[in-house]
Each structure stands twice: as structure tokens, then as C-alpha cells.
């Protein structure tokens, strides 16, 4: 991309899907963002002229090829529209990188990375960042069933060890990531510097409850509703240690022990009805 070339186009170079086509992985040409983005940052995507702006965390970047990878689950109209774009199609607007990157340091102890569902995509970029900085990473990844388990291979590639679990036992441990987390901390808590837990809100909340008992530092990545993603609107307010913070500029990563998870869950339901109408209309 050259700055002076007028309209910048964001082409989809590659598309993969998981979980019976409900989770999509796209690689997009965005050289400047690929060059600048750091683990933990996100982009805002707008699919077409009438589209809404949605935040998607960057799952990977390739500085040399000038691409970024986004992984998302189809949950509403916009994600469905984005999923409908095939290789070679263009995304109308792509803004980023946004958010505060994770402050990655080299620690003597290991990093325990816990991911659930599409959260594994977000976790992947951050955990890989820690690994590249010289840290040893142990991963726990989970999904409801084997076909919904994404990026297992990519996680295994850089993790010293990867635990896998599924809610129905179709792969790995039969149960939740929290059970493995509990067990691992009971056995080896002293080996770990911190836990990174990224996934559905309930999973992150449950992980934080466990790590709290071990007094283990825990990083979570929050996904509230956003509009502009630049700190301008305040739609993404979250409560951290009783103080209001904007996930888009102060986050989206926060100290999990300070996050008000019930508030986040409630705020995510603001437009539940509108989202249903929008998706229903687009299906019709």
C-alpha cells in the first residue's frame, strides 16, 4: 500500500473455515497494519456502505507478506456478511491497529495460556508474542466439540505443551479448560509467571476465580460492543477495579482479577433484539 495512491483496498487473500463453517479465518492484505500491529491489538471492520463497524482482534500478522489474519465466529449479520466474502473480494473499511498492545517481557517462569472457542485466535497472537520474546508457553485450549476446536496445530507449534479439552469428550480431556487449569495450577503453580485467559466471558470469569485462589496474575481480553474503536464514543466501557475504562483504548487486555464480568455480560446484551432483527432481515 502506498499512502498517496488514493483509496486503499483490503483484499481477502485466503479463506479457511472451521466448525462446520461457523468460524472463519481470513487473511487480508493490509501491509501497513501488518507492519505496525503488535499482539493484543485489534482492527475495526466495516464490510459495506451500509455496514456497521465491528472490532476483530488480530489473530496473526505477517510483516513480510503484508497480511493480517482475522478469525471470527458467525454470530450476527455483519459476521455473516464478512463470512460471505470469498478469496479475492475486498473489505470496504479496515482500521487499525487499535488498542493498547500487550506489554510483552521475558520472564524466568512460564506463561500459561488458556483459550476457549474463537478466543483461541486472539490468544494465539499474544501467546506467540510471549514465546517469540523467549518465554516458555504452556497452552490449554478447549471447545464444545472437536469440530469447533480451532488453531490447535498453530498453538502446538510454539507451545512447550498443549492440553486439549472438549465439552463432549470428542478430543482430549472430557470437560472444561477450567478443570485443567485448576489441576495444572495445583500441581505446578510455582512454575508460572502468569495466566492468559481468553474466550467467552463466562470462561474468563471462571478462570479468574481459579487463578485468584492461587494469587496468579491473569490477563484477559475483553470484547464489549464498540463503534469507532478510537476512544471517541465510550460504547465499550468496562469496569476495572471499580473505575470505568474504555476497552478500545485502555484495553482490550486487562487484569482479569479487576474486571467486573457480570457488567460486561449485561452490556453485551444491549442490542440483542436489534441484532436478531438485523440477522433475521438479512436471511429473508
Amino acid at each position: 500500500m502506498t499512502v498517496m495512491s488514493g483509496d486503499i483496498m483490503y483484499e481477502i487473500l485466503n479463506k479457511k473455515s472451521y466448525a462446520r463453517n461457523t468460524i472463519i479465518n481470513i487473511r487480508i492484505e493490509a501491509a501497513e497494519i501488518a507492519k505496525k500491529c503488535q499482539p493484543g491489538e485489534f482492527v475495526i471492520v466495516r464490510v459495506n456502505d451500509k455496514g456497521e463497524r465491528i472490532p476483530l482482534t488480530i489473530a496473526d500478522n505477517d510483516e513480510v507478506a503484508g497480511t493480517i489474519t482475522l478469525v471470527f465466529q458467525i454470530i450476527g449479520k455483519t459476521t455473516a456478511l464478512l463470512a460471505s466474502l470469498e478469496k479475492g473480494a475486498f473489505i470496504k473499511d479496515l482500521v487499525g491497529p487499535l488498542g493498547t498492545p500487550v506489554d510483552i517481557k521475558k520472564y524466568n517462569k512460564k506463561i500459561l495460556a488458556v483459550g476457549g472457542g474463537t478466543g483461541i485466535a486472539v490468544l494465539h497472537h499474544i501467546a506467540k508474542g510471549y514465546q517469540s520474546a523467549g518465554n516458555k508457553v504452556i497452552s490449554i485450549v478447549g471447545a464444545k466439540t472437536q469440530s469447533y476446536l480451532i488453531m490447535k496445530q498453530e498453538m502446538e507449534d510454539f507451545s512447550e505443551k498443549t492440553f486439549v479439552c472438549t465439552d463432549d469428550g470428542t478430543e482430549g480431556h472430557h470437560g472444561f479448560v477450567t478443570q485443567i487449569l485448576q489441576k495444572e495450577l495445583e500441581e505446578n503453580a510455582a512454575n508460572y509467571e502468569m495466566v492468559i485467559a481468553i474466550g467467552p466471558v463466562v470462561m474468563m470469569e471462571a478462570c479468574c476465580k481459579i487463578t485468584k485462589t492461587f494469587n496468579m496474575k491473569t490477563m484477559v481480553s475483553l470484547n464489549p460492543i464498540m463503534v469507532d474503536g478510537t476512544g471517541m464514543c465510550g460504547a465499550c466501557r468496562v469496569s476495572i477495579d471499580g473505575k470505568t475504562r474504555f476497552a478500545c483504548v485502555h484495553g482490550p487486555q486487562f487484569d482479569g482479577h479487576k474486571v467486573d464480568f457480570p457488567l460486561l455480560l449485561k452490556r453485551q446484551t444491549t442490542y440483542l433484539e436489534d441484532e436478531r432483527i438485523s440477522l433475521f432481515k438479512s436471511i429473508k
Binding site: G6, K92, M232, V238, V249, T269
Partner: protein, 599 residues
Amino acid sequence: MFNQIEPKYIKYGSYLHLYCPHCKKTLNIEKKEDKYIHINIIYKGKSGYLNLSPYLNIFEVESDLPLKEGDILDDVICPHCKNSLLVKDHPCDDCKTPEVAEFIVSAFSKLIPFYICTKYGCTWHGLTKRDEKIIKIKIPRQDMIEQDPKLRIFNFNEVPYGYSSELAVIEASRCMQCTNPKCIEGCPVAIDIPEFIRLVHEEKFVEAARKIKETNALPAITGRVCPQETQCEAKCILGLYDEPVAIGRLERFVADFERNTNAVEIPPKKKPTNKKVAIVGSGPAGLTVAADLVQLGHGVTIFEALHEPGGVLTYGIPDFRLPQKIVTSEMNYLKNLGVKIILNSIIGKLYTVDELLNKMGFDAIFIAVGAGLPIFMNIEGENLNNIFSANEYLTRINLMQAYKFPDYDTPAPRARKVAVMGGGNVTMDCARTALRMGAEESVVIYRRSEKEMPARNEEIHHAVEEGVKFEFLTNPIKYIGNDKGFITEIECIRMRLGEPDQSGRRRPIPIDGSNIVFDFDMAVIAIGAGPNPIILDSTPDLPLNKWGYIIANDKTGKTKKEKVWSGGDIVTGAATVISAMGAGKQAAKSIDEFLRNKK
């Protein structure tokens, strides 16, 4: 009756604007394509009307009375104030009929008496020798026709329709063409106001628009959103003993006229200087700098964070106050001037200021990112659902066009009872938007009294007309919600006014025990905005003041960082569109000097 006039005074065929000398109201009327001068008459004891052609020397008369040539009218009456227009001591110069009717005509930027003989068919009318002495006559300030408040709360169309050419000429005739005009001093961008109004009066509307564009590239916008009543119109000398000339409405009219008649032309540019300037933010300040510098021959690139250019003009000001199509056409004008606008580019994240200067080869940077950080009150329950910052509410509805949901994808906040906190223009915008989004009740909650409200009178007036309610001297202290996390009630406390504070306004003091709980299912917090930290955090060597705004010279906009200028809300804190444009003008001048002196 309407036949000849000495050509040295008014050209044959000219369109005449006649006024009643008593009530000063216009006698010109328009019915679809037809234009008349409409007067009431009495003939043989019967009253009726007479419609004369307003074009000089075109004899075209319509009446409901059976008039024939040679009849002398008993009386000529103003249809507005019902006063007789006859003057007794002034016989007709031609047929010596003892009485003629006196009118006021606007001509040569002046208002002068104009006579018409009362004998039907008499050829004489016009000006007499004694009219050479100019008489100052009061014409009332002309109002714009507006959409009915009962209807407009169901749409997002603009409220005023603007002047017709006739009304614009009448209003322009009120300008006294002062030899030492004060209005220009009141204008932050120093538009040559008397000159453009003179051109309007001569019906040279396009020339008038070009005259404004010499100093202000965006007249269609400033004509709508400037607080003229505290700027140019506050200084208007006519305003000392009458209402000031409606400068803003005239500005808006000529800009619209130029655009609607496709007369917009790209002014000639100076020869390229091969210097490049980066502008951060495409709001009013950034656009002004861009327009000025590009016309001086510099290469100009604007970086905009959002997916549409315009800044607050696009995301903040609602369509009913500033239609998006006007912003778009002004943007196109800038693009045609040669300004490059790069969207979706966040300076501070995608590129830093230093990268723009050192790696990307820009010779100067103007930072105009505005006050893009919403201020909340930090009270209990503020994070309940359906409590929005004004920025979020307006961005959803204006920028994302959520009012067209579900045709557009962004969900629209809707509620039955909406409270809007604050007292500024943005507060009014939110309260009026809420009505258009279907709220049964829209209430402004302001901690001071009506007198201290910073909103423009026109905005308050429009809000009241539309049915917005006000709770003055009231401040929210707690938001109460249901188990699903949605707001249901607001607990407020009543206030009284104490001593004036630093802003000169009386400080509100809570009255103990005056707590009151209102039912609301939505709240919008419109109490102001602060500096957005993204660009500031990534430019640590840019000195800020104690409120976090950029420190810049108030005459030149130069910051303490080399090659970096700044202006608009990021320097002053939240202010007006035109003050941002004024800052842009000064900075453009300073940047131009810098670039020209540079080797």
C-alpha cells in the same frame, strides 16, 4: 399604472421589492411560478385587491374589482397592517390626480420611497426629486421558512428551508454598507461581509458566494452552524437600534444557490511549491487549513480516522441541522481543489507524527483531531445499558445512519422516555434526535438555569418548538436499573445558583434533601468532551497543558514541536466549528510562511 420610470434610477424590467412604509412588511408575493405585488384597494366603497406585476414597465394587473381605465381608486391599503398608503400632498406628476400611493422600494443598496398613481391606467409612477435624499427605513429581519415542528419530529430533514432569492435580496437591502463595518471584526475568518451582501442585493448570488470563498471555503456549513448571534451579527451596527442583518442566513443562501445552480468553480491555484503538508483530522480546522494551503500551491494530505471525512460535521451534527449531502459536496469541492483525503488512518497508531515528518517526507503537520473523548459523570449506575455518551448516540445515528436500521446494520438506540444531561448545542442535538427516533418524551436535565445554557438560542427555540422538555437546576446523582442491566430510573437532586465561578456563570449548589426520582429508559450524557489521547500518547515531545490539550501559539497555531502546528478543539477544548476554522486560517498562514522561507 405601472409604466415608466426614469432609466437613470431603475432599469426597465427590473424586479421590484416593495414594502409598506408603515409596517415595513414586503408586499411581494409568490404563487408557484407567478410573482405579484399584492395590495388591498377600495374603489367606489368596495374593497378588493390588486396584484401588480413586480417587473417594472410590465403592465399586468389582476383585481377582483371591475376596474377600467381612468377610474381613480379611493384608497390603497397595506394587506398586513391595514394602513392607508395614500399621500395627500403629492399629486401625480403626469395626470395631476391629487393622490398617489407611497411604497418603499429597495434599490441601489438603499431604501427609497416609490410612488404609484391612483388613477387606473395612468402611466406615471416612480421616484420624485425629493427622493434623492435617502431615507433610512426599517425593514424587519426576514425569517426563513421552516418545517412545521409537528411534522419535522418525524423526519431528519433540515428544519429551515432557507431564503428564496427574493427574501435574500430584501434581507440584503437591510445592510447599511457601513464605511467602517464592525461585522468583519466579529468573524473569526474575517469574511468581507458588506461586500458579499452588496452582491446579494444586486442579485449577483454566485459572485457573492465566491467573495465568501475567498476567505471561507465552507460557507454552506458555517452559514448553518456558526453562532452568528455572538459573532458577526453581534457586531452589526444595525443591531444597535434594530435586529442585526441576518448574515448567517445570507451566507447559507448564497452557498446553496451556488451549489444548486451548479455554479461551483474551482478557483485558480498558485503554482506548485513541491512542499507537502499532512493534516491530521478532517474536521472544520483541518479542512480550512487544507483548503488554504492547497490553493497556495502546497500538496495537502488529510488523514482521517473514521471511514467518512468531515469529523464532527459528519459524526456529530445531525442531518436536521446540517444535511450530510452538504458536507459531502463541500468535501468534493476540497478534493477537486486537489486535497487528498486518506480515510481509516489513525495517526498515532498506523503512523506516528515523527514517521510522517521523517519517513514519509511531509514538510509540516497540522494536528486537528478535535475533542474526541466523551466525559462521563462517574456516578453510580452510569454503565447501565441504554446510557450513552452524546458521541456514541450521535455517531450511531449520524455517521452510521442507525436511524435507517435495519436497512443499515448499526443498531439504533430507541426508548420511550429519554433524558439528556447538559445544556449545550450537543445536548439539544441529542434531545431533538431522540424525538425523531420515536421517543414519547425527551427531557433535558441541566444543573444551572435556562439563562446559563451555553446552547444557541436558535437551537433551544427549535427544541422547545418540537416538544423537548427541560428540568433546570437539576443534576443526576444515580442511575437505577433493572435486573437485566437496563436503566429504568434516574435519581436527581435539585440545585440552586451560588456565586459566579471562573466561567462567569453562577455555580450550581445542590439543595440537601431535594432528591427526586424520574422514570427514564434511556439517558444520553452530553456534558462535554476531552482530548483523545491516541495521537498525544504517541508523540511524547508535544507539550500539553494541564487539561491535556496541545499548547499552541494562539496567533499562529505553532506548537512547541518543530514542524508541527495545531488548532481547533484539541487546543482550545470543545468549542465551535467556526472558531476551529479561525484557528485553521491562522495556522495555514503560518505554515505557508514557514514553507516559503524553507529552502
